[in-house]
Symmetry: C2
Subunit: 254 residues, 2 copies
DNA sequence: CTATGCTATTTATCCGGATAAATACCCCAC
DNA sequence: GTGGGGTATTTATCCGGATAAATAGCATAG
């Protein structure tokens, strides 16, 4: 049976991928809109399902479509979330040299901006979330493990602020940095119990921030966050340094 | 012939991908190192070549390996470049609202940091590159098209600084922002000729920066770049605003 | 000694088939 | 009318085969 492989200049599935992207842009498709599915594409391009599947798979790993099974199923345009980008960014950084100092070099300039941008944009639910976070993180930890969890929870405070930041790229960067620090906290087992005051120190800043948010005082929010970052950087360099690259490679996140 | 499809909880090819990633981390493999290739993986996992190929393909689109054909060919660990991450980030931003103001909100804080970080780290070649850039961009453009090219070339000045920035994540962010602005410049056809003084204005800042770099004056570099960004932001908001999303979706870049 | 062409190895691309799972929808019993 | 189960549709996963292309290394001719 004459199969027709003959190596093309560009893979047929790649052609399909690009055509689909053009279609998405040209038709101004919105998330949730339906995209031509397997049988339709097979007919359109006169190729086998394997080839079409490869194209759809590629679009799926890029986060552009989601596949649904069952009747009425098929490929639907997805609101590409930040996860694929974050995973690729971790892959990229795996072979680069990035230490805690490097993370804080960026965090010192990004977090104050994120925090200030969130002023006046916090919903009631987000306000409640921040307050809950402060309450939980104020409790003295009873074990080293609980202390570590608390440190991770503190980062959620910053993630909530990023959620309220209207600039999507700025919010992405903020969340990514928090993610990196989260890995760092998870990794540092040599975390001496007496140092739990660091956590209390962080919560103190969070309390001050909450107060400034209640007064919609952007300038003060920015100033507090900057001081917070400088303080946190001192603590982190005191703790030591290297962000473990093994945690950067794009594994599924717990 | 009994094929054994039965839908797994997790795809076999994904299992292979994750095992390979673990291998890369565990063995501390460096770019250029060889990775188990098709026939070896087929034997190891007892699956068909299609499945193995799917796994290797996934690693390839993540930029982690490159495939080579011919004798001695196979999968080799690649130094994951920034392109896949940048492409995914553009995909993510395609469905978000990001205007020129949003880009400059970040650029105003990132570029001064990048510029300051590059102080004392510029190679001879990079110095020459910056000087050449200033010379070329100082010439009065003779056509609107040439003027646009000049504006794009001006962004290369900033990319060179990013190249000299030792913080890989900071450099990535800087280059990404420049890329976005590049798209914006390419897109803006309604660019009035009389406004070519904007370009001259940019070059003036670049000249000042070059001088400060010669003196290794980080504080001054930072201050000049900040002023440069504020000025550029004013010009860009005057020009109008929205970054065209159609240029963000991850197409191959020219 | 060199250049050229042959060969063997390995991946590249595509095909179509088979079973498994998910799910919207309909039909029937109650 | 309503709930539950069956059914049809669609994708999910995997298989193995076939031809095409790239390339390193060898062999041979000049």
């Amino acid at each position: 049976m004459p199969q027709r492989p003959m190596r093309r200049r560009t893979k047929l599935s790649d052609v399909i991928v690009e055509e689909m992207k053009r279609l998405i842009v040209a038709e101004c498709l919105k998330p949730g809109d339906r995209v031509p599915s397997e049988p339709e594409l097979i007919e359109t391009y006169g190729c086998s399902k394997g080839t079409v599947r490869e194209a759809l798979k590629a679009l799926e790993v890029e986060g552009l479509v989601v596949m649904r099974t069952g009747p009425g199923g098929g490929a639907y345009l997805a609101d590409a979330g930040p996860e694929p980008a974050a995973r690729m960014l971790r892959n990229f950084l795996h072979f680069q040299h990035l230490d805690g100092e490097g993370v804080y070099q960026i965090r010192k300039i990004v977090e104050p901006e994120v925090a200030a941008a969130a002023v006046g944009r916090l919903s009631e639910a987000q306000f409640a979330q921040l307050e809950d976070n402060v309450v939980i993180c104020s409790q003295a930890p009873t074990s080293e493990e609980e202390q570590r969890r608390q440190r991770i929870l503190e980062l959620e405070f910053h993630n909530t602020l990023a959620d309220a930041c209207p600039n999507p790229l700025l919010a992405f960067i903020g969340r990514f940095l928090n993610d990196m620090l989260r890995d760092l906290v998870v990794l540092k087992r040599a975390y001496v119990p007496e140092r739990h005051r660091f956590g209390e120190c962080n919560v103190d800043y969070h309390r001050l921030l909450l107060e400034a948010y209640r007064q919609n005082d952007a300038a003060r929010v920015r100033a507090i966050m900057l001081a917070h970052m400088h303080d946190a950087e001192r603590h982190m360099t005191a703790l030591e340094g290297e962000v473990a690259n093994s945690f950067l490679l794009g594994f599924p996140r717990p």
